[in-house]
């Protein structure tokens, strides 16, 4: 038996806020449960059969009382709702300058890919004191990436990217768990986050089996799978130019626009007919089944490395 922990370590910038909220709710729970328990115990004893308490004029309704105990809980709820929602909005959007790390969940392991090319399995090395954004997708069923010490969790879905971010505040090792049931070895689909001081992290990035950076690997895929054939410079190919497209607003065939974020780029590779750029035909081959999520991520990183967003959206063949 390994001791009796009663409260998890708080190792991210958001954790103290979540703990404060938890404590607030706990205090409210203890106060109100206490109130109820006390009232019931008190009445049950004082007004027990045979006691000499005053039972004259018992009431069975009181509008002021009903309104009070509707509006007070409503007000308290309101307070916690606002507290929780504002904290949630901070948790939801990563601050600028975050380190992006790709995570792929598959039955029953986690594959991590750093932009610099480092790959890990069931381990996630991150720098201390910098925001880290995880860009996650699943190769099969729904998983979920949960880091209790950071108080964050996000379901990891097949067919799209989901993200979560954190900023670690203490060096050390922390559990991460898969927290969406995913089959036989769901409970073994866990690992550790290793938070390192910046210098140590740089050394780790350089030292551990580096491989090429993701963008470089993506460029190699771009050539190998023939993407370059159609996606030429200056819109001279059958597909739009990708230089500068990242995070631009593109006009779509059939009306509407889309922001060429990671999800759009991913979808355009795997399901190209879904959102075709205006002026182009839906002739791009479907790459679903031909590329692993890791490879897709590398292509996305390559395209993002080509710069963007453009100021004016350019669509249409010339």
């Amino acid at each position: 038996m390994n001791g009796l922990p009663l409260f998890p370590r708080a190792a991210s910038t958001i954790a103290p806020g979540v703990d404060a909220l938890f404590t607030g709710l706990m205090v409210m729970t203890i106060v109100f449960s206490g109130l109820i328990f006390f009232a019931i115990a008190f009445f049950a004893i004082r007004y027990r059969e045979g006691s000499k308490a005053n039972r004259d004029n018992p009431r069975s309704e009181s509008l002021p009382l009903e309104l009070t105990w509707m509006l007070v809980p409503l007000g308290i709820s309101f307070g916690f709702y606002f507290w929780g929602t504002t904290l949630f909005t901070r948790m939801h959007v990563a601050p600028p300058g975050a380190v992006d790390i790709y995570v792929v969940g598959k039955q029953w392991m986690w594959k991590i890919q750093h932009q610099q090319g480092n790959r890990e399995i069931n381990e996630l090395h991150v720098p201390l004191g910098r925001p880290v954004r995880l860009i996650m997708t699943s190769q099969d069923v729904i998983h979920s990436f949960f880091i209790p010490a950071f108080r964050i969790k996000q379901d990891v879905l097949p067919g799209r990217y989901t993200t979560e971010w954190f900023q670690a505040t203490q060096p050390g090792e922390y559990h991460f768990f898969c927290s969406q049931f995913c089959g036989t070895s769901h409970a073994s689909m866990r690992g550790r986050v290793v938070v390192m001081e910046q210098a140590a992290y740089e050394r780790w990035l350089a030292g551990a089996t580096p491989g090429a950076p993701m963008a470089t690997q993506g460029e190699e895929l771009f050539e190998r799978f023939g993407c370059a054939t159609c996606h030429r410079a200056n819109n001279t190919g059958r597909g739009p130019t990708l230089a500068g497209v990242a995070n631009s607003t593109v006009e779509l065939e059939g009306g509407g626009t889309a922001v060429a974020d990671r999800e759009y780029l991913r979808q355009s590779i795997l399901d190209p007919a879904a959102k075709v750029v205006r002026g182009y035909k839906p002739v791009m081959p479907v790459f679903r089944g031909q590329l692993t999520p890791d490879q897709v991520a590398q292509l996305v990183e390559y395209i993002r490395s080509l710069g963007g967003p453009r100021v004016a959206a350019k669509g249409g063949a010339q």
Binding site: G254, D271, P272, A273, A274, P282
Partner: protein, 215 residues
């Protein structure tokens, strides 16, 4: 056997109470059916929004003529059903039997036409999970369209078939003079059910068949 007296079950005090209970019961059952089809229609709506192009393309494979004929058939069957209810309430044995039989026949015609439509889909390889081949670029969306098509119209047809079965029983009983002004509740509540099945189709037809008309 003269059936001018209503048969009041032991748990009820009066025939009026029994009739009110049966009618309320059928309305509640229809509410459950609204939610049942509603769940499917919700799925349909979600995909109609997210896969609008695919749905529009896929709907071109529908036979609007057959669908339109079926709509007319079903609407007419609601008319004959309403007339059957009216006849039963008036104790008019022959007329009620004829109207009930007509309703059944029209329902059967609907199912027959549906069968032709389904056969067409099989011939054109548009049956997801069994034999599906879509040449266009939006195969995923088209497949979802056709799966929902079969689910929606299939469950509808199932409800219709059950309705025909119920009306068959009612026709036999009407032929034996079971229904009169004093007691025609089963025909009335069956009428409610039949009209409901009709209304579901009124929703399905424009949603599934007529996309290209308004898009």
């Amino acid at each position: 056997m003269s059936e001018n007296r209503a048969l009041v079950a032991h748990q009820f005090d009066t025939a009026a109470q029994q009739r009110g209970a049966a009618t309320l019961g059928m309305w509640i059952f229809l509410a459950t059916e609204v939610l049942f089809f509603g769940g499917m229609l919700m799925a349909y709506t979600v995909y109609r929004v997210t896969e609008g192009e695919a749905f529009a393309h896929a709907s071109r494979a529908q036979n609007i003529l057959l669908g339109g004929i079926n709509t007319a058939v079903l609407l007419t069957s609601s008319l004959t059903m309403a007339l059957a209810v009216h006849a039963a309430q008036g104790g008019r044995r022959t007329r009620s039997v004829m109207m009930l039989a007509s309703t059944m026949a029209l329902g059967a015609l609907f199912l027959g036409v549906k069968g032709v439509e389904y056969a067409e889909k099989f011939a054109e390889h548009l049956v997801p999970g069994v034999d599906f081949h879509w040449a266009g670029p939006d195969a995923g969306g088209a497949q979802i369209y056709f799966i929902l098509y079969f689910l929606l119209t299939g469950f509808h047809a199932l409800h219709l078939a059950i309705g025909i079965g119920v009306i068959a029983v009612l026709t036999a009983r009407a032929a034996r003079g079971r229904y009169s002004a004093a007691y025609s509740t089963p025909v009335e509540v069956a009428g409610l059910y039949w009209h409901f099945v009709d209304i579901v189709w009124i929703f399905l037809y424009p949603l599934i068949y007529l996309i290209r008309v308004y898009r």
